[in-house]
């Protein structure tokens, strides 16, 4: 049998069997599928295949190169971690959605043309929303609806852009675009929604924290990183992205500091980390692009680890609100430990994964002479340590003892977290393994005395700032609240305006119809009076009066004639 078929099919078709399996058979199947797909990926030769023709346009179902392979590997790693993390659950919907979602994301990164990309793109949207709805609450239903609308909008923009592009260039091939090409702007916007560009970002913070404890972990891996992949493939070196990425690193951290829902804090830090990648893609040098995709690789793993630890807290303690938690290290020491590994990785501590990937982007920013950008990225690096590195473990597991005593996370969750933690430390200690997979040759050396010392200074003094603010009571307490973000525009302003328009048009309708109706009623009543059953003109007249009238007419005629 030829191996030249989309790897995505293994996961998507494999998912169809899941509802038929129960117990350990299903568990085994969930774990085997990503491994099977991984083996298939290793067997795939580089190049393009699966060429078919649709309406005269050639499509390429599979394109294997170093960029798509890198994302393929990490997506399958994530799929395996997710499957392991989800084993304790019996929810078939989540098991199936998880596999179809991972498969769609995998298909999308190997898509050689824009139409294939679009189909998988929509596949990720439709399958992933089930992971939000699987929480089965009113709030998650509404958040899922908002999420779906935004995701499908991104798909529509991609399709419109692709068709416009194909009309002018005669090709649907997914290659590098320039903004002058027709349709390119629409595609950039479509990718920008998935990458959570500023003002297009709020679907992420809105929906991810509303998903199930498994769902948020799965969601964090694929959609945004698919956006990063598409951006790196299509728009590398687009100057504007440097600015967009830099803004993205900075603004979410202010929200993260005051957010109470710890999974929402992590959603803001997803946004912040995506900013580093977008900036790297905008810089467009080999070092920057390598840094961007390497950071995407590392981010999938440490973000999954952080979301897994918070998912375990949600499962066991019943909440992830900072205001309700504290002291959980007593009940969940393993989860706390794994969370700290994730926190150290996202904060780029030496020997942890973020240290060897994020620094490539920052070095590239300086090489290109972007000093202000570099300073903002450095600010954001300190900030991410502050809100994700310290705040998450501190308020969940330490701080004041909330009195919550619960069981440690289930064994399968701990195993998934242990594996993710091992990968984070492995990448941090042996970066050459990851570097050898990167699309371009790497001559970057992360472990220099200068780099280690400067990073440790940055982090330790950020931690000191946190401690000082905490001990002096200046640090804002965790409060039950929501913070207004851009989603206010459509959840409050837009909704208010829509309701206003509906009410105004109803009033206008009443205003227009009430007098007209009265007038019509009057006319109808008059017609009825004359022509209705009792009306003058509808009366049955006796034959005698007819004869009389005829006699009068004849008489009158006779008289006139005579005269």
């Amino acid at each position: 049998m030829s191996v030249e078929f989309p790897t995505a099919l293994i996961l998507i078709l494999g998912a169809a069997l899941v509802p038929l399996l129960r117990g350990w058979l299903r568990s085994a199947w969930l774990l085997i599928l990503p491994l099977l797909a991984f083996a298939h990926l290793l067997a795939l030769p580089e190049g393009s295949f699966g060429a078919i023709e649709l309406f005269g346009l050639p499509l390429t179902l599979v394109r294997v190169d170093r960029l798509s392979l890198l994302f393929g590997y990490v997506f399958l790693l994530a799929a395996f971690l997710n499957a392991l993390y989800a084993l304790h659950s019996r929810d078939t919907v989540q098991h199936v959605a998880m596999l179809v979602y991972a498969g769609s994301a995998l298909g999308a990164v190997f898509a050689g043309d824009l139409l294939t990309l679009f189909i998988y793109w929509e596949g990720t949207a439709v399958s992933s929303v089930l992971l939000i709805w699987a929480r089965r609450t009113g709030e998650s239903y509404r958040a899922g609806m908002r999420y779906l609308v935004v995701q499908l909008l991104s798909g529509m923009l991609l399709l419109a852009g692709a068709l416009l592009y194909a009309q002018h260039s005669g090709s649907l091939a997914f290659e590098h675009f320039t903004l002058e090409q027709p349709g390119a702007w629409l595609m950039l916007l479509a990718f920008g929604i998935k990458c959570a560009f500023p003002l297009l970002h709020n679907w992420l913070q809105d929906a991810y924290p509303e998903a199930t404890e498994i769902g948020t972990v799965v969601l964090s891996a694929f959609t945004t990183k698919l956006g990063i992949y598409a951006l790196a493939r299509g728009f590398a070196g687009t100057e504007m992205l440097v600015l967009i990425g830099t803004v993205m690193t900075a603004f979410p951290i202010f929200y993260a500091v005051i957010e109470n829902d710890l999974r929402r804090v992590l959603a803001y830090s997803v946004n912040n980390q995506l900013g580093f990648m977008v900036a790297g893609i905008g810089l467009g040098t080999e070092l920057a692009l390598n840094g961007a995709v390497a950071h995407a690789f590392a981010d999938i793993l440490f973000k999954a680890l952080l979301f897994m630890s918070m998912g375990a807290v949600l499962l066991r303690a019943g909440t992830v609100k900072g205001s309700e938690l504290g002291g959980l290290y007593k009940s969940m020491p393993w989860t706390a430990g794994f969370c700290i590994v994730g926190a150290a990785s996202i904060s780029a501590f030496p020997l942890f994964s973020g240290f060897v990937t994020k620094s490539m982007i920052m070095a590239a920013a300086l090489e290109e002479g972007h000093v202000v950008v570099w300073l903002v990225l450095l600010f954001a690096s300190a900030g991410v340590f502050h809100h994700a590195g310290i705040k998450i473990p501190y308020f969940a597991f330490f701080a004041h003892d909330s009195g919550i005593r619960c069981k440690e996370a289930p064994l399968n969750m701990l195993a998934a977290m242990a594996l993710a933690a091992a990968l984070c430390i492995g990448i941090g200690c042996f970066p050459s393994a990851l570097y050898s997979l990167l699309p371009w040759p790497v001559d970057y050396v992360p472990y220099t005395a200068s780099h280690v010392l400067s990073q440790l200074q940055l982090l330790v003094f950020s931690a000191l700032a946190f401690s000082v603010l905490m001990r002096t009571g200046i640090y804002p307490p965790e409060l039950r609240s929501v913070n207004l973000d851009f989603d206010w525009v459509y959840r409050k302003l837009g909704r208010g305006m829509a309701l206003g328009v509906i009410e105004a048009s109803a009033a206008l309708y009443r205003l227009a119809t009430v007098p007209t109706e009265r007038l019509l009623r009057g006319v109808l009543a008059r017609i009825y009076r004359h022509h209705g059953p009792e009306g003058v003109l509808a009366r049955t007249w006796p034959t005698g009066s007819m004869v009389l009238w005829v006699a009068i007419l004849l008489g009158a005629y006779l008289v006139l004639y005579y005269i």
Partner: protein, 86 residues
């Protein structure tokens, strides 16, 4: 695991003097890192980053500024938890 869940159990971190100990240790580490700055000559792409303690000071003041700004932001954007449900 069950003994971990005993509500009465006292942990090392439950004693405030131990927390203070960690806090002081963190300061010691910070100061040692500044001393290291004098010994190691950091090679930087950009001139001002070679200034003594640049990263430490930048990290400290960046975080203080971040928290103070976020506190101000709270005045502007914080709403009750059921804001969108009403």
């Amino acid at each position: 695991m069950s003994e971990n869940n005993a509500p009465g159990k006292r942990y090392w971190l439950d004693r405030s003097e131990n927390v203070t100990l960690i806090y002081r240790a963190l300061w010691v580490v910070g100061i040692l890192l500044l001393v290291a700055d004098l010994v190691v000559h950091r090679h930087e792409e950009i001139g001002f980053a070679e200034v003594f303690g640049f990263y430490g000071l930048y990290g400290f003041f960046a975080c203080v500024a971040l928290v103070l700004a976020a506190k101000l932001l709270r005045k502007l954007i914080m709403r009750p938890e059921d804001y969108y449900e009403r």
